[in-house]
């Protein structure tokens, strides 16, 4: 059974077609990796699936519902760790977790227990009452992940969850996510630029480039298809070795600059 389906999904921003005729399916309970070079359209697709953006065209179903129209029903079915920061810097680690728990209606006693456990898990227990603005980049990332794992949804979207984390932490977190997937049958949809990570955990991989899906299958299938021996080689064979002249970067830089300006 498919828990996520997209058919001919299109998203345009002005003249840029960020997502161009994308169709794929994610089976219930699987770990699905969505790979692609910078600016390929991964985050945009995730934003559409998670109701943050409305598509320009195409059909989508998430847990049997349409994110463009049945937003509340779709929102109740997933959790997400965003690629960009999404914490409140002016609140403490604990307060960020508490806020999330209340938004997701986790009953108080379970909520407190889970928050304690998750902060323990990402080794932030002793900093729980510190304001997030005083955290390092890696600490913030760990807190985002802990928060995303606080409630146990049917589908978990992870947009480059392990970005900027050291290998120890990455392994530790992936082990936890794989356990969740096995024990609760939680569907995992993730993106990453670490190919060995995708190779190790994903059952199905879709590769997107310039807004189009260029290949789909298991890691083994992709390697056979491209006559390569590692997923990284397969990825390069599929998407080429050209470094992306990439709009995101300059937009991000502008955004960062503006942020500093207004801080």
């Amino acid at each position: 059974m498919n828990i996520i389906e997209t058919k001919k999904l299109v998203k345009k921003f002005g003249d840029i077609t960020a997502v161009d005729d994308v169709s794929f399916e994610v089976k219930k309970g699987e770990i699905f990796a969505f790979l692609g070079p910078n600016g390929a359209g991964k985050s945009t697709t995730i934003k559409i699936l998670t109701t943050l953006l409305s598509p320009t065209g195409g059909e989508i179903l998430v847990n049997g519902k349409n994110p463009a129209h049945e937003q509340d029903a779709v929102r109740a079915s997933f959790g997400i760790v965003f690629q960009d920061p999404s914490l409140d810097d002016e609140l403490t680690a604990w307060e960020n977790m508490e806020f999330h728990g209340v938004l997701y209606s986790i009953p108080k006693d379970i909520r407190r227990k889970r928050i304690t456990e998750m902060l323990e898990f990402v080794e932030l227990s002793d900093r729980k009452d510190d304001l997030v603005k005083n955290f390092s980049g890696g600490m913030k990332r760990r807190l985002e992940i802990a928060r995303g794992l606080l409630h146990h949804p049917k589908i978990l979207f992870l947009d480059e969850p392990t970005l900027g984390l050291d290998p120890q932490t990455r392994n530790h977190i992936w082990k936890y996510i794989q356990d969740l997937n096995k024990e609760e049958g939680m569907t995992i949809f993730f993106t990453t630029h670490y190919m060995e990570e995708a190779d190790r955990v994903a059952q199905t991989i879709a590769v997107i480039d310039h807004g189009k899906i260029v290949a789909q299958g298991s890691s083994a299938e992709l390697k056979i298809k491209t006559h390569t021996t590692s997923l990284e080689e397969a990825f390069l064979a599929l998407t080429g070795t050209v470094i992306r002249e990439e709009e995101t970067k300059s937009v991000d830089r502008m955004r960062a600059g503006r942020r500093m300006w207004h801080k």
Partner: protein, 248 residues
């Protein structure tokens, strides 16, 4: 209910944690009370207007509520830029609830700010006619705060960054303040100023607070009350509609 509470609480925590902002935003009302209150006091008295501080204080209370409220609403732009808004927008909670929680929080903060200015005005000689009407004044202050927090939210829903902020301050917030009867009585004004003042929600808000604190209304208790209720419904409606449509 819990959701609205936690959103409200977040606004309050952010307010109490940024002491600089709290104190900074008291500078302007204090300056206005002193400079205008004592500067124009003698002329106002000579012209037969009575004690100017008595007239001015409710206006300055209204001003500080207006500024704080619009700013609280506008804060959504920051949440967009710093990313926190995404966290609330994907949650399985209706956006109306999110908008209400935030607006109640922002309005509470603005009312607190107004209450502080009220206390400060007592120091420069403002005398409320009756202590028993202070709760009524507070209610009106909260109503002003709701109107303008919702307005700020509506505007912020349309903007992606703070670039338009100066524009909003200079072409919306400042005129709302200066043309509201906060600084001068609305009697015998040239027709166009009178016209603007009579469609400015703050005119009714200031009049309501002034009426409750000094017993003198330009419109009347019931007109002020009715207009404020109408404006709250209108702006909450527009704000919710626009907030619901935010895309990130």
């Amino acid at each position: 209910m819990n959701v609205i509470y936690i959103l409200w609480l977040r606004q309050l925590k952010r307010y109490f944690r940024s002491k600089a902002r709290m104190i900074g935003s008291l500078g302007q009302p204090i300056l206005f009370l002193f400079a205008l209150g004592f500067g124009f006091g003698p002329i106002f008295q000579k012209a037969g207007g009575g004690n100017y501080i008595q007239f001015l204080a409710p206006g300055i209370i209204g001003m500080s509520i207006l500024f704080t409220a619009v700013f609280s609403g506008i804060e959504i732009i920051w949440d967009k830029q710093f990313g926190f808004l995404k966290e609330t927008l994907v949650a399985p909670v209706s956006r109306i609830k999110i908008m209400f929680g935030r607006t109640l929080g922002g309005a509470t903060v603005a009312t607190l700010q107004g209450a502080i200015v009220f206390l400060l005005s007592l120091l420069v000689g403002f005398q409320p006619v009756s202590l028993s009407l202070i709760p009524i004044a507070l209610l009106f202050m909260f109503m002003i705060a709701l109107v303008f927090t919702a307005l700020g939210t509506a505007i912020a829903s349309l903007l992606d960054d703070m670039q338009g902020f100066q524009l909003i301050m200079n072409f919306l917030v400042m005129p709302l303040f200066f043309l509201s009867g906060a600084l001068f009585p609305l009697n015998g004004l040239p027709a166009f100023i009178d016209g603007i003042a009579s469609v400015d929600p703050l005119s009714y808000g200031v009049d309501a607070v002034r009426g409750a604190l000094t017993g003198v209304y330009h419109f009347s208790f019931s007109i002020d009350f009715a207009v404020l209720v109408g404006m709250i419904i209108l702006f909450l409606g527009i704000g919710s509609y626009l907030f619901k449509k935010i895309q990130i």
